[in-house]
Subunit: 196 residues, 2 copies
C-alpha cells in the first residue's frame, strides 16, 4: 500500500544505532504525518554534517575545521594531554568543567581482532606530540581489557620520554551505594584508599 520511497526511507533509518524495523516505521510516519519541516531540516543537516565534518589535525577529534575549538583555544593548558577513546568522552569531560588541558582522541582501542593497531589510533602522532610541550599525559580510557591494553601500550610508548603518564582514579562513584558497587570496583577503591 505504500510506495517505494517510504520503504526506502524506513530502510535508511535502520543505519541508526538501536533502530529496528518498528522504530524506523514510527519515525518515518511521525515525520510524514506531523513534522515535515523537521524531517526536511534533519535531511539537510545530515548531508551538511556528513560532508563538512572531518577530524582536528591536532587531537583527531571530530571537527568542522582543521583545528577543533579546544586545540585552537588560547585558554587551554597545552602541557596536559588527556587521552580518550571517543568524541563522546571529550563531551563528558568538558561537561564536568573540571579540565582545562588538551585532548587526544584515539577513536577506538587497540583490538587485534578488529584489526585496530597502533597505527589506526594515531600513536605516531601522539608520540610526536609528546616531544613538544606536553608534561603530563592523563589516560581516561575504559576499564575494559582493550582499554587496559591500550593504556599499557601508551605507557610503554612514552616510557623513554620526559612525560609523566597518569590515569584517572577508580573507585566508587559519587552517589553510589556500597551495596550496589561491584566487587572489583570495591577492591580497587579499598586498595586505593587515601588519608582523610
Amino acid at each position: 500500500m505504500q510506495g517505494s520511497i517510504i520503504d526506502e526511507l524506513k530502510e535508511s533509518f535502520r543505519v541508526l544505532p538501536g533502530v529496528g524495523p518498528k522504530t524506523a516505521q514510527r519515525m518515518v510516519l511521525h515525520l510524514l504525518q506531523r513534522d515535515r519541516h523537521g524531517g526536511r531540516l534533519l535531511g539537510q543537516k545530515l548531508l551538511e554534517a556528513m560532508e563538512r565534518v572531518g577530524q582536528c589535525r591536532m587531537c583527531r577529534n571530530l571537527s568542522e575545521s582543521n583545528l577543533c575549538a579546544v586545540c585552537e583555544s588560547a585558554h587551554r593548558d597545552r602541557s596536559q594531554l588527556c587521552i580518550v577513546e571517543s568524541p563522546v568522552d571529550v563531551v563528558a569531560i568538558e561537561q564536568s568543567a573540571s579540565y582545562r588541558g588538551c585532548y587526544f582522541v584515539l577513536m577506538g582501542n587497540l583490538s587485534p581482532i578488529e584489526g585496530i593497531g597502533p597505527e589506526e589510533l594515531g600513536m605516531d602522532a601522539l608520540a610526536h606530540r609528546c616531544e613538544d610541550d606536553v608534561r603530563e599525559v592523563i589516560l581516561a580510557l575504559s576499564a575494559s581489557v582493550e582499554g587496559e591494553a591500550t593504556a599499557h601500550y601508551i605507557s610503554e610508548l612514552l616510557k623513554t620520554s620526559k612525560v609523566q603518564v597518569t590515569r584517572i582514579a577508580r573507585g566508587i562513584p559519587i552517589g553510589g551505594e556500597l551495596e550496589y558497587v561491584d566487587g572489583n570496583t570495591l577492591a580497587l577503591a579499598l586498595s586505593g584508599r587515601k588519608p582523610l
Copy 2:
C-alpha cells in the same frame, strides 16, 4: 570542542519520537565515526520523501502518487472499506494478509480538545465514497474513548445509507494467557462468546 554543525545535527535528531539528547548524540557520533555513507543516504531519502510523499486521493493514506497501490490495484474488493486511524494500521492489516478490500485512513480520531473534527478526518469524502459500490464498512479503530466516539460518528453518518457497518472483533488475543488479560477485555470476550 565541537563545531556548530554537529550540535545542529544533534538538535535536528530530536524531532524523532523517543529521541532525547543522549540518543541524538549517540546517533550523530555513530554516523560521523562509522557510517557516513548511511548518513548521507538517510539525508537524501529524507529530503526526497518529505518532498514527494502526499496522500492518496481515494483513501487518504500516505502515497507517492495520486492513487496508492491498494486503491489502484484491480485485485482488491471495492465493496469492502476498512476504516483505520493511521497508515501504520494499514501496514499491520496488510501484513496479516487476511483482507482483500480497500481502506479509508482517517489520519486521526475525533478529538474536540485537539481541534480535530469530522472535516479533518475526511468524513465528507467517506460519506461520498459510500454512495458508490461500497457494501460494507469495517471499523478497525482503537478501543479508546476517541476511537469509540469516532466509530459512533461514522455509524450515525452511514445510518441512512444502504452500507452495512461492522466492527472488528474484541476478545482475548491469540497466545494471551487469561490471567494477564485485563478485566474489561475479559468481560467483552465473555459477552461476545460464540458456539463452537
